[in-house]
Symmetry: C2
Subunit: 393 residues, 2 copies
Amino acid sequence: MDNFNFYSPTEFVFGRGRENECGEYVKKYSSGKVLIHYGGGSVVRSGLLDRVKKSLQGSGVEFTELGGVQPNPRDTLVYKGIELCRKENVGLILAVGGGSVIDSAKAIAAGVPYDGDFWDFYSGKKVEKALPVGVILTIAAAGSEGSGDSVITKEEGLLKRGTGSDALRAKFSILDPELTQTLPAYQTACGATDIMAHVFERYFTNTKEVEITDRLCEAVLITMVKETPRVIADPDNYEARANIMWAGMVAHNGLVGVGRSQDWNSHGIEHELSALYDCAHGAGLAVIMPAWMEFVYKHDVMRFCQMATRVFGCEMNFEDPEATALEGIRRFRSFLHSIGMPVNFEELGAKEEDIPVMVKKLRYGEDGKTWGFVRLSPEDVTEIYKTAVRAQV
Amino acid sequence: MDNFNFYSPTEFVFGRGRENECGEYVKKYSSGKVLIHYGGGSVVRSGLLDRVKKSLQGSGVEFTELGGVQPNPRDTLVYKGIELCRKENVGLILAVGGGSVIDSAKAIAAGVPYDGDFWDFYSGKKVEKALPVGVILTIAAAGSEGSGDSVITKEEGLLKRGTGSDALRAKFSILDPELTQTLPAYQTACGATDIMAHVFERYFTNTKEVEITDRLCEAVLITMVKETPRVIADPDNYEARANIMWAGMVAHNGLVGVGRSQDWNSHGIEHELSALYDCAHGAGLAVIMPAWMEFVYKHDVMRFCQMATRVFGCEMNFEDPEATALEGIRRFRSFLHSIGMPVNFEELGAKEEDIPVMVKKLRYGEDGKTWGFVRLSPEDVTEIYKTAVRAQV
């Protein structure tokens, strides 16, 4: 096991109706005014925003608000938020929404106490200080409610960049599974795929003998394999929603990746897809991740056999381990298809002729390869995209 | 899933040699003088105390020290520690040791800023404020490095009482598996048993459909079943030690119990054994827990089948589920025996004739029963003790 630090200081407030306690938690972590930050109209239409305001009013907390966060949140709104917070002397930012809203709130939180341009933090500078952030989560997917990460897109040139710091971890995150019950099946499935991807990126490691982390990874994956189809079949299944929502936090607060090297190539390769076609991140991952697995499995056949048997219930083929490894990948893709995810370029709306552009845009190290479980050359990445073009269940 | 809060704000610093960074972490969480708190001579003999002091000196941190913490830490030393901290104007307490040392440090931390008698906190009063506590852990067992709990024994009448508060969670906990390599096999096995017990007390629940918590429980248990025999066979196996040490934290910081009712009867029943015979807590649990399982398994045969198949690798007997449940319990007891734990009264040094005294001392609710997975009458508890008298592998 490699040496590591693990720090997840967020207070998680989980369950039915807990958003009505947000006033109390805001007061616990800040004495000033609150900026309510959110996206489109759904939090307004559902009445959630009204309930949040009522709770704040009930606790005697003053607030101002800033809506309009887009998927792939933009720097332009972050600048607006920073200005507003300074003008109104805001003490805490309350993100009401999914990963994009939370990421935008984190960016504003880092920018307010900083003299320079907040984009510095998305260009390599470490965030040391930020306003406190609170979260009311409305979709189980990105895991931003428990992580110290934030990804922002620069409007000019659509440059997508991330930053990470413990200073950006939310002070509290309210997770009410009922808030996710109105989500369309497609978004629910995209979220589930993202959650599973966050685990797989940590599961495929070159560090040996980290049994506890392996088993924790598998705990989340097995839960997702069981609970996701139940939610797709019955959107109002609170228990299944609850399991998925908590699994989504556990998948990305850092716990299931400690003590070992990680991968993250599928995220990078997918990123070029969503940048080009504006497809959902989870949908892109559904197309890329099994293709990536098929390309790299020979690097560690036994690890793929472990996934196949422990997560997807395959029987181990002791005479032909590769067959078990491939059967595990096949079941993963088939699972993704069964929850309504695309599994190839056509289903995603991507085009084979764009592959060279995407391969070129991807970032490589000085020796021309990516980082991770298997370091990939542009030729390797081309091969993975091509596998994704023709993939079938 | 029941509503819950989960809050584990401790910074965990894990790996080889990390104790040499303690000066840096102390400075991060306090600006004042440090009280180094420890137990007997082993931290002195091993040179650990010297390395801790060197690190503190290197960071320019002043310190004072208080050793002498006993297993089942006493109130008398806590009073001494509180007085010392006030006199020396201590800003942080650094616990160097196992659960007893950490529990004692937490008690001192709560007592220093409190005007009344610290024992109030162990008589029902909630700790709202405490000095910051840092930890350097030397044994994987109690989980106090990640929990907000503390248990102290009142010298007068040997009254053992606990308290719990998020204010008592350590600011940082340094976990170096190498520090546990010198532990005798018996202590290592007692610690492993305690870790498994912390999970089982949460695993046996009456709340349905908490798949994610179930699977996280099983992740820890499976890891312990795999890694403990490796460490008993080879005390210097760093990887196995590392997996156990991290599993011990995960087992007790609250994560594997969220969203559901819990049990804790085995802890209560064991407590009377260690109070009477001064045996190790883990050894008492090894005797009690399988006996408790045999008494309650009919309450939820399927849950015991789940344990048997997922944790102990039993094949499910679909014609006779009870046989599978019992086989799981048999394998658990056999596992405990294999790592050198006692499995009955004689091996523990307990006496059948003392059962009535222990049954009487146990705490019951107003209706005369304990709380938990199955609420137990004094007759039930008697039966469990009697099963433990005659248990064999």
